[in-house]
Amino acid sequence: MSIETVDLTHVYMAGTPNALTAVDRVSLRMGDGEAVGIMGPTGSGKSTLVQHFNGLLRPTSGRVLVDGEDLWRADETHRRGRKADLRSIRRKVGLIFQFPEHQLFEETVYEDIAFGPRNLGLGEAETRERVADALSAVGLAGDAVEDISRRSPFSLSGGQMRRVAIAGVLAMQPGTLVLDEPTAGLDPRGRRGLLEALIRLRRERNLTLIVVSHNMEDLASLTERVLVLDRGRVVEEGPTRQVFSRLDVLRELGLDAPPVVSLMQGLAARGAEVRTDLLDPAEAAAEIERWMRSKGGDPDRVHA
């Protein structure tokens, strides 16, 4: 699926003294099967922007197109049919909110995740399968499941709640997944597991992925391209690694690269001839070894 915005602007509380332009004339295009990251400082408009992708927010001006279809086309015939259209759009574009509490509502975890598949008209057997798959994708399978699935989602720990909220959207198997800070609150294993699950789903189902995150490691492993927002504008855009290697620009915006990038840049700043676009600790160590053992170095001293 493709998502496109044309001069998208969103003003909160327009016409009041507190009017605030959260998204400012943003035009972008995400193609079918693409994985795109969105980053930017606190309050830069990331959540506002992505809530337009499935019609949760209506643009103040500008357009949003999903698979070429304008979500808010102004003609009369279209408006009459609009509600149904939005419902089908929300099936195609699954949105995971920044705070999981905002999307949990059923009495038990099982019911919460089953809600989507049932709504799609699936039978109980298939629903059960979907729920199980979704729980396993978020690392809640195994012994823990029996225990957790009949509990109230509001009695869970923060990280468990986030996993359930993600599972609820995965169970609908949307063609596009929009995730707003999906790994916040997950423990390191849960985080890695979710990233792997998303990468696998993308491969298996040609999922289009849009990921909002402050975590550059997440964006590095999930996305090919990132957009950087600042005060509602897209200020930087390009291949993920390329954008990450521009540490000066990122720091200016209050963002930062993963420690590995800072390490390599720190070495380079001290005159070391090392690559600065590496993100993985193992790759970084190999590169450092190469440099340490290169002419002019005395690797034996490292043991000192």
Binding site: Y12, M13, N18, G40, P41, T42, G43, S47, Q98, F99, E101, R150, R151, S155, L156, S157, G158, G159, Q160, R163, E181, A184, G185, L186, D187, P188, R189, G190, R191, H214, R251, G254, L255, D256, P258, P259, V260, S262, L263, G266, L267, R270, A272, P281, A282, A284, A285, A286, I288, E289, W291, M292, G296, G297, D298, P299, R301, V302, H303, A304
Partner: protein, 286 residues
């Protein structure tokens, strides 16, 4: 000052157990046999997998939850004593994972003023504290905004400001910075670290960012309701395999350090940060 205030420990936890829904079908044993002493002025970081009991433990530190086993003393006051609850709450300030649950007013500055007002702080002093707290988290510009209409990170900043304005002697941050951008996180932690050093604020910081644990005087690791490690950061992260076993990780710099030693380039275990590693490598190569 009461004589309790002269004691070294601000929080003493002995044999603490907590069961949610005790006696029902849905009983969850969230804490078991937890012993923990937190000294005045300490900067403690708590890490642990999802569901390991960190938030449950935090809620015991100001009497929001009461022990089903064992006891918790705050400044010598037993959290089960209803007459002391008020004093306990003003001693230990809390910021939770989800800022929505902490919003109490419709305007940011009133939200931040709510705590000090409740403590009976005089009006001008409240004004001063609110302005200071808003400046500390860089939210002055939003003082007249509605807190529930802010972005995720902005809400977290307001929640932190609210806790700071109460001037507690102990501050519990339960993943309170999870939604902030990297600089925001650094700034908040730096502020808290400064209050810790200069004013002796005791800090309990719960986080999934292993890097943040490097800042701590002491790191407590939880797993399935128990404390499984309790040591300075260098020592905790030296036990990488055990951490990975329970689903945690080590900070990236330490991971690079391990890969280097696999390649025969060993780096001393005292090297924990990016700056230290850069320095060490440049020195070694010379």
């Amino acid at each position: 000052m009461s004589c309790a205030a002269a004691e070294k420990e601000i929080i003493e936890i002995d044999g603490l157990g907590h069961r949610y829904g005790a006696g029902t079908d849905y009983e969850v044993k969230a804490l078991e046999d937890v012993d923990l002493r937190i000294v005045r002025g300490e900067f403690l970081v708590v890490i642990g997998p999802n569901g390991s009991g960190k938030s449950t433990l935090a809620r015991h530190a100001n009497g929001l939850l009461l022990p089903t086993e064992g006891r918790v003393l705050v400044d010598g006051m037993d959290t089960r004593d209803p007459n002391r609850l008020w004093d306990i709450r003003r001693t230990v300030g809390m910021v939770f994972q989800n800022p929505d649950n902490q919003i109490v007013a419709t305007v940011v500055e009133e939200d931040i003023a709510f705590g000090p007002e409740n403590l009976g702080v005089p009006t001008e002093e409240i004004r001063r504290r609110v302005d200071e707290a808003m400046a500390l988290v860089d939210m002055g510009e939003f003082s007249r905004h509605a807190p529930h209409l802010l972005s995720g990170g902005q809400k977290q900043r307001v929640a932190i400001a609210g806790a700071l304005a109460m001037r507690p002697r102990c501050l519990v941050l339960d993943e309170a910075t999870a939604m902030l951008d990297p600089r925001g996180r650094q700034e908040v932690l730096r502020t808290v670290r400064r209050l810790n050093r200069e004013e002796g604020l005791t800090v309990i910081h719960i986080t999934h960012f292993m890097e943040e644990a490097l800042e701590a005087d002491r790191v407590v690791v939880m797993d399935r309701g128990r404390i499984v490690m309790d040591a300075p950061p260098g020592e905790v992260f030296g036990r990488a395999a055990e951490l990975e076993d329970i689903g945690l990780a080590v900070p990236q710099v330490i991971e690079v350090r391990r890969h280097l030693s696999d390649r025969g380039l060993s780096v001393p275990s005292s090297v924990l940060t990016v700056e230290e590693l850069v320095e060490h490598l440049c020195q070694s190569r010379r």
